[in-house]
Amino acid sequence: MHSKWNRREFLKTASAATLGALAAGAPMAGLLSSCSSSSDKNKKLLESDAVKQRLANSTADTVILLWMAGGMAHTDTFDPKQYTPFEKGLDSNRVLSTFKAVPTVLDGVNFSEGLESIGKIIDKGTLIRSYVAADLGHILHSRHQYHWHTCYEPPQSVAAPHMGAWIAKELGPKNPVIPAFIDIGQRLTLGEGEELKAFHTSGFLGNEFGPFMIPDPTTGLDSVKPPVGMSYKRFEKRNELYNKLISESAFGEFGSDYQKESLRRAMEQSYMLLNSPEAKAFDLSTEPKESYDIYNTGRFGLGCLLARRLTEKGARFISVTTEYVPFMGWDTHENGHTRMKGMKKEIDAPVAQLIKDLERTGHLDRTLVILASEFSRDMMLEGRPGAEVKHQVDQPTIINDIKNYGMHRHFTDGCSILMFGGGIQKGHVYGKTADERPCKTIEKPIKIDQIHQSIYHALGIPEDAHAIIEERPFYTTPDGVAKPVMELFGKKEVKEDTEEDEVKEA
């Protein structure tokens, strides 16, 4: 009997310690092994001190990634060029933008027509106009998306973790009952679903850090409340039954081990989440109607609303996507101009409202919002200048049908990214693309590993953060060599010691 009492006591203290560790912002890894030996416990404490230290140096606690899935043309969104209206017999080569440029709140900075709301709040963030996607040859959306989200080019010999999984591992959840890595809006059952799964994963870091998927924001609540048709009262009773059956179980004779404890802890956490007041944040129906209506441009807009509500309650990393389905959304292989109107309408109001709301509630200071896409588009160029690849769309030289009027080919050499909050400079434009075709990056090219390191920098995650997999170090960005771009934070660039970093061939 004595040993049984000990075990229960142990569970009690273990879960109290768990909550304490979570509240202190300790990573989940520490949480899940809080039952280990005392020397390990000390180690965990040190680790959480390290985490605290990082957080003290950070400028952001939360990241919201607004994902423009399918390739968002920069010249028709945040980097407009010469506008050539549609007319029969139009020469494709003349077309750089299919929309008028409209002014924004920043002097001399124009957006493409249809993005006026974001234009009004762009002074609250930085506009990057010089993102250069990797040259992966013949274009494949899911492959570039894999690269954007993991910072590693597929295929990899080990399953590379999503950025959200790294953040979940390094920092743990901000609020213990809100999963650290939340992914809103992507269904994994549609075209290229398996390819999308390949990066919607925590990879070798383990399922613990994997994405909490909410494919449809309007039913987000279903993911965090008792099963459909079950009252909270019944839910509680059921959980009580479970705990009693464990404590009265004849299995008690076998004592505890790490698997049993981790099962119990996971169940406790799940119960906490499903029963917590924070879970209400997932319920969009409690949002005031006027606010709801502003966001409600579709699933993406409502995803932004859900992201805002979760941020207010303490989320760590949230991705909201316009959803990638081949030939849908931003993946405009035809009828680009017309479809672009719809896409801009879908994002303009909710993105602007998200930034305004976060600012109003004081969360923008510690929340880094990023709007990005895997690459851009062009009417003529497939791939990048100097490394053009096989065309995937026929584009007639002379356009007679409006369905041929649009940015239908994939372009990797100049894309726009927006960043707001979390220490990011306000009202700043970074980089530049050429005004004539090819509208490629001509100033301050920025690459994916720099983007990742900048995000990690904001969160206080060191540049050489890594995990050991199969006895070798695997860094958040390849070889851990990339540096954050300090200009984005309005700071001087860290001068690289080029002498030390030179790499020579044998």
Partner: protein, 835 residues
């Protein structure tokens, strides 16, 4: 003042002087004591004064023990004359010593209560300490009796006692030191001791102790020292200073390069550590710009000492007789002769484990009960839980060898067996990946071939041959995934084949080596390319870190002694040669790898761990080698291997609990039986299907079109989870995406999993259907509780469990209450674990 009195005072004064002089040394010793250092980092609720007093233990202990020893020594010196001039001094020593011993015992008790001490050493130290205090008091009391009551006849007893006390003091002191300095503190410097630091093959670092003062190192010592230094370089410096990355123009992986130095000149002045740049750099504070290693952990004090010593000794780097830096497993098979069978042990597995147990002081315990054994073999061999009828039949079977008979029967259920092992092989061969293959259909499904191979128990050498030199049915494994676009050279399909073949079949990691020379093994880039070239139509150009080198790859098996591959032959012929050469019995590695994988599946940990690193040290080389040789001798029969293991007493030992997952793969792992395992996603789904309600409908089966796969031949009346397409439920429970090779699954539970089980739609729907049918089938709660426990846990509920369940179910339960009860039962660790 008579002379005796004068002597007495003189002696006391001398003694006090001695104490005054020596005390600071004791104090310094105590303050530097690791006990006090450790103590400052430990926090708990003990009252501070007790803590303080406890920590005075080390301080209090050093002094009185010396007094007692000194008393014993003086007693021996004055053996002839009890009433010598020293008598008063000895008396004082005994009294002070005894009092001090009592005090230290008390303080020690306090210290042990608050610090992280425990185990045998503490217990021995505690009781020798207490015994010493008691002996000291007894000696003092005897002394008092002798002198005050003139009972001289007691002198010999007193003297025996004081000598004995001195021995006790020494013992207590030794165990105290073992507590603070480690239990090899003394023995590690004794050359003939097992713990000797400098012993050949010793795992600890090269012993500086054994060499200090030696002017000239022997050739063997030079090799040893050099190997150790190179190991430090490899683990800490190669990342930036070897063939692939040559920062500061310095390479540390080759002798001539090391002595040539970097762009700032030589880094080593042999014989002069103080003038050597490398010694300066590794000693710089971490924050210094020139500190080395510039990245990663700083070198340990021992590592720095070792490198310094090496430079001091002239930086020896002998060209002859070099050892490998990394442990490399023997390639050849080995067939050690089996220990003699005993009355209790006949199974060869047990005979080898018995040898191991004897050496490691592990005691055999009783084998598990019929109920646990049956559940174990069902889950391990066919992947499902036994039905209550099967459990009853087994319990009633009175044949002496019924366990062997039932194992054989399970192995004979060919389809059930295949449906279980399909999961393991799908993970390992990354089969059953249902993506588009990135437009190219790169992943050819091999399910049909795989199922047939398992169902017919294809000999493993044949199985491997068909994977390496495939026909249409099995070509998916070496074909690899081809993404559209340009792919990193280290991920071309030929290199994927080389990586996967070496990882899965040979327990060797070539992933690093396919990009650059490895710094976790001795494998080189050219070896990986030579191996990959076998899978290639045209000769591959070697790329280092995705940059072409202009050198063309050779065509070789990783171990040339296994045979050659004709470089100019067409790929089909090269694959045929590869398949023949790799499956030769001479390739002990292939067979050790598979027996180790099967062992790991059944025991929760391999004889070698991790299972993909077969160069690591096994906990029993004999067992591993013998199993591999026996496997070959029995015609590569996987089922025979499983039979041998499942019928061993070793397999039937009670399961072992592990509190810290990290300990499982640690080098100091000690085998004592099967580690408790968690059910795989498939086992869990199948167990729910079997005990509660089928999880999957027939329509979920995705391989209906494969002619060989006829699940209706299976004896289970439900659809097995290994046949259905991966879904959110299985993913949450750990089924991998199978885009990459997976040879072991997560064994920890996590929040996402718990959420899926708690409110996942699909799983709840299953439970709801189950509840409806249970309510329709059984009227009253008692029957339902009893039946659920029988089917799900294979046992009757205990009265307490019935009470708890009844509080929810009531006498005649409704469907909702039953659903909640079913949910609670299948989520019990008792249901989800294999024990």
């Amino acid at each position: 003042m008579n002379s005796k009195a004068f002597n007495k005072y003189k002696f006391l004064a001398l003694l006090l002087l001695l104490v005054a002089v020596l005390y600071p040394f004791f104090l310094a010793d105590v303050l530097a004591d690791p006990v006090t250092e450790a103590a400052t980092s430990t926090a708990n609720d003990t009252f501070w004064l007790f803590k303080l007093l406890g920590r005075l233990h080390p301080l209090a202990v050093h002094f009185p023990v010396t007094l007692l020893c000194l008393a014993a020594l003086l007693e021996v010196v004055t053996l002839k004359d009890f009433n010598s001039r020293l008598r008063p001094g000895i008396d004082l020593l005994v009294i002070l010593g005894a009092a001090g011993a009592v005090l230290s015992a008390l303080l020690g008790w306090m210290l042990a209560g608050q610090e992280d001490y425990g185990g045998d050493t503490l217990a021995i130290h505690r009781w020798t300490g207490v015994a010493t205090a008691v002996l000291g008091i007894m000696a003092a009391y005897l002394l008092y009796t002798i002198e005050k009551q003139n009972r001289w006849e007691l002198i010999k007893y007193y003297r025996g006692l004081i000598l004995f006390t001195a021995v006790g003091v020494t013992a207590a002191g030794h165990y105290g030191a073992s507590l603070t300095h480690g239990d090899m503190y003394l023995t590690s410097v004794i050359p003939w001791s097992d713990d000797y630091e400098g012993a050949p093959g010793s795992k600890s670092n090269f012993s500086l102790v054994s060499l200090k003062g030696n002017n000239k190192l022997s050739h063997e010592q030079e090799i040893e020292l050099n190997t150790q230094v190179r190991a430090i370089f490899a683990h800490n410096c190669y990342k930036c200073h070897s063939s692939d990355k040559i920062k500061g123009e310095l390479r540390l992986d080759q002798k001539d390069m090391v002595f040539k130095g970097g762009k700032h000149g030589q880094i080593i002045e042999p014989g002069k550590p103080h003038e050597s740049e490398i010694i300066r750099r590794i000693n710089l504070p971490r924050s210094h710009k020139e500190a080395m290693p510039g990245k990663g952990k700083p070198l340990s004090k021992e590592d720095i000492q070792l490198i310094t010593y090496w430079v001091e000794k002239g930086a020896p780097w002998p060209d002859k007789g070099q050892k490998n830096i990394f442990r490399v497993a023997e390639l050849k098979p080995r067939n050690p002769s089996l220990p003699k069978a005993t009355q209790n042990l006949q199974n060869p597995v047990d005979l080898w484990v018995n040898e191991y147990f004897k050496k490691n002081n592990v005691a055999w315990t009783n084998v598990v009960s019929d109920r646990i054994y049956l559940r174990r073999i069902y889950l391990d061999i066919i992947g499902v839980v036994p039905t209550p009828e099967e459990l009853d039949a087994f319990a009633q079977d009175s044949r002496a060898d019924k366990r062997n008979i039932w194992v054989r029967q399970l192995l004979n259920r060919n389809d059930d067996y295949a449906l279980h092992w399909l999961t393991f092989w799908n993970d390992a061969l990354r089969n059953d990946y249902s993506g588009t293959g990135y437009i190219t259909n790169g992943r050819t499904n091999i399910s049909d071939w795989l199922y047939k191979s398992l169902q017919s128990n294809k000999p493993y050498n044949q199985f491997v041959k068909e994977l390496l030199n495939p026909g249409k049915g099995s070509e998916g494994f070496i074909n690899g995934i081809k993404w559209r676009g340009v792919v990193n050279a280290s991920q071309r399909t030929e290199m994927q084949a080389a990586q996967n073949v070496s990882q899965v079949l040979l327990g060797l990691n070539l992933k690093c080596t396919s990009c650059h020379d490895s710094f976790i093994s001795d494998w080189k880039l050219k070896d990986a390319y030579a191996f990959a070239n076998i899978f290639s139509d045209s000769t591959l150009e070697i790329n280092r870190c995705d940059v072409p080198t202009g050198k063309m790859a050779e065509t070789k098996i990783l171990w040339e002694e296994l045979g050659t591959i004709e470089e100019a032959a067409p790929v089909k012929e090269k694959l045929r040669q590869l398949a023949e050469n790799l499956t030769k019995p001479a390739n002990g590695r292939l067979y050790r790898t598979i027996v180790n994988r099967i062992w790991a599946q059944m025991f929760g940990r391999g004889i070698v761990a991790p299972v993909d690193a077969m160069d690591n040290e096994p906990w029993s080389q004999d067992l591993l080698d013998w199993l591999a040789s026996d496997f070959v001798a029995r015609n590569y029969d996987l089922k025979e291997l499983i039979y041998l293991i499942a019928t061993s007493k070793t397999y039937q030992l009670p399961s072992v609990k592990i509190m810290d997952e990290q300990k499982i793969n640690a080098p100091d792992f000690r085998f004592a039986g099967m580690l408790r395992k968690r059910m795989s996603a498939e086992q869990f789904a199948d167990a729910v299907s079997s005990a509660i309600q089928p999880v999957y409908a027939d329509s979920a089966v995705q391989y209906k079109h494969f002619p060989e796969l006829k699940p209706e031949q299976a004896s289970t009346p439900f659809v097995r989870a290994s046949l259905v397409k991966n879904d959110g439920f299985l993913t949450a429970l750990g089924r991998p995406n199978r885009e990459t090779v997976i040879t072991g699954r997560d064994s920890q539970a996590n929040l996402l999993q718990a959420l899926e089980l708690t409110n996942g739609k699909a799983f709840n729907a299953v439970l709801k259907r189950g509840a409806d049918s249970w309510v329709a089938r059984y009227k009253d709660s008692d029957t339902i509780i009893r039946e659920v426990y029988r089917k799900a846990l294979g046992r009757a509920p205990v009265p307490k469990e019935i009470n708890v369940a009844k509080q929810v179910l009531g006498p005649t339960p409704n469907s909702e209450a039953v659903q909640d009860f079913l949910w609670a039962v299948v989520l019990l660790p008792e249901f989800q674990l294999i024990y």
